[in-house]
Amino acid sequence: MVRNALLGMIIKRLGRLVVLMFLVTLATTWMLNLVPGSPAVILAGPSATPSVIAAINKKYGFNESVLVQYWHWLSRVFHGDLGRSYQTQQTVTQALSQRVPVSLELTIMAGLIALIIAVPTALYTGYRAGSFADRVVDGVTSSFISIPGFLAGILLAYLLAVKVHVFPAIGWQSLSKNPARNFRTAVLPVVSLSLPLIAIFQRVLRADVIATLQQDYILLARSKGLPTWKILFRHALKPSSFSLLTIAGVAIGGLIGNAVIIEQVYSLPGLGSLLVSSILSKDLVMVQAVIAIIALVYLVLNLLVDIAYTALDPRVAAQ
């Protein structure tokens, strides 16, 4: 019964996800048309004649209405053709196949590391709220949140790559080509990305843990004679995880496209830098695809979060 309800929920959410993907891509096409400046002018260069520009406009359909442009794009996508970059003439599929794995790897690793560090820290500081350790952690996480990502990135790169040659600052290798090298080059960017996440996760979970520890069922668990770690991990963590889960879905999803600065600092070929350079060069077909990928990751992640809610709380599943 519960399983069927869960399945129904997933199917419903998947349907909603498809609708949202259409809306996001349509909105992207529309927004790109609103951006001032003509992509044809940029493509043709500053000295192009009006006839060249007109020819480019005709070739790429820049003068068509938004809906027609969207329709053209969509029908090509359904034939497996995401288009070809106006700038580099590289196919979009090819560009994405290089960039997406890098961004996914960074995102997943940063998210996991943040959770692995934040969850036990939050449980402990929530349990010992107001203690010296709690205040130290509070100070550290405040600084993690307030230091801008690029500063942490540059600082780490300077200390651990330039001063002490522990990790390389540049020279990214893909995971499939050279896993050891990949891991070493991933450490600094992943750490830089995870610092603010650790801080946010720790703070959100700590607050909920403090509230949960006031509950009668925690007192009952204590009166059973359970050791503290069992009370924290088994009895307090699950009911305290709702805000954390929501925030984690949004924050980890945000990394996929928003890691631009860290990608720049460590010269990583990720989606964020591709998006920024495509926007600047009005490479519309590339922007369209990158935004679609980012939206897809976001939606899938939040679908997973919703599924996790039902795993966390049987009452959600029963509704």
């Binding site: 009668d216 069922y217 009952l220 004679g225 050791p227 009911p239 049987p314």
Partner: protein, 344 residues
């Protein structure tokens, strides 16, 4: 320890226990010099109004109060072992195995996100090092013993799918799982439907007798303890005002407070539409308790001396009977019988 094996003898001794809380408004003395005993296999009824310190007393006996901002003095002996000097780790070995607790509200005292089976088997696995399979088998037996139908099926359910009465049966099964020598039941029926209250109290009494277990039954309802306890301690404003064997306290009530409590229990043989006696006023603030007798401001018998001097606990003519009053009630008040109805 001596007395470990014999059935009689003292199980729990509380000596001059006092608990105060530091609050922004000052120090609150929630429990003020309480001494009591529970005999092995006997039931003590701890009676008092809301805010009289019953729950704090019970939790401080168990050492379940938070450490910060709480100052506890006095001694608590369980089976001759001083609990007040035990480390938290040593207390964990006592909790759930020799000393366990049933809480007031079963709607909040079970973890909503863990299956019943896990919550029942947990103590068994913790204290008895039982295997998953053995603890499951015993959990089924325990649930069956506390009157839960189809216990094997209930193990896989979450608390939200059970009624309040069923949940309280589950918490009782949890409390009984490792055969404790002493069960603290803190208003175990207050949050339940009236129709279920009797069943739960009967269950507790039955288990207490069957296991020869000591029990402290905390309630605000004298009707609840009348037929179910061997001894009674009546608390008011953090102090014990009267204590003794249940029949003696009922038949030879000395404290005006106990007497007033008895009068305010609705009785079946009252004529219809007769007014229920109430105790006027409210319990005093424990921040600045009145000097002298704490009940004096509300007491109909109060004289000048009552508000000046705190009466000590004085022995009555019957053995084991103590009361705290300068001008005790002498007429036998309400006879002890089953006509006291049990209300919420």
């Amino acid at each position: 320890m001596d007395g470990q094996s014999q059935t009689g003898g003292t199980l729990l001794t509380v000596e001059d226990l006092a608990v105060s809380f530091s609050t922004p408004y000052g120090t609150v003395r929630a429990v003020d010099g309480v001494s009591l005993q529970v005999q092995r296999g006997r039931a003590l009824g701890l009676v008092g109004e809301s805010g009289s310190g019953k729950t704090v007393l019970a939790r401080s006996i168990m050492r379940l109060l938070p450490r910060r901002g709480v100052d506890t003095t006095g001694r608590v002996f369980l089976d001759g072992i001083d609990l007040t000097v035990r480390s938290p780790k040593q207390m964990r070995a006592v909790w759930g195995s020799r000393l366990s607790m049933v809480f007031q509200d079963p709607m909040t005292s079970l973890n909503p996100v863990l299956k019943i089976g896990q919550q029942v088997a947990e103590s068994l696995r913790q204290h008895r090092q039982m295997s998953r399979h053995d603890s499951r088998e015993l959990a089924i037996k325990l649930l069956d013993a506390v009157g839960i139908p189809e216990p094997a099926q209930i193990l896989g359910r979450y608390p939200h799918s059970l009624s309040g009465g069923m949940r309280q049966r589950v918490t009782i099964a949890i409390a009984l799982s490792c055969d404790p020598v002493l069960l603290m039941a803190d208003e175990p029926t207050t949050a339940l439907d009236v129709t279920v209250q009797d069943q739960i109290l009967d269950l507790l009494q039955e288990q207490q007798h069957a296991r020869d277990m000591g029990m402290v039954l905390i309630t605000h309802d004298l009707g609840v303890v009348a037929n179910r306890t061997d001894d009674i301690a009546v608390m008011y404003a953090g102090q014990i005002v009267e204590q003794g064997p249940t029949p003696v306290v009922f038949a030879h009530t000395k404290s005006p407070y106990t007497s007033a409590l008895l009068q305010s229990v609705p009785r079946i043989d009252n004529p219809p539409h007769s007014r229920l006696e109430v105790i006027r006023g409210r319990p005093p603030s424990l921040l600045n308790p009145p000097s002298g007798c704490r009940f004096a401001p509300r007491c109909l018998r109060a004289q000048e001396r009552c508000s000046a001097e705190l009466p000590p606990l004085t022995p009555g003519p019957e053995p084991g009977h103590l009361f705290r009053c300068w001008y005790p009630v002498d007429a036998p008040s309400v006879p002890l019988e089953s006509s006291t109805t049990r209300s919420a």
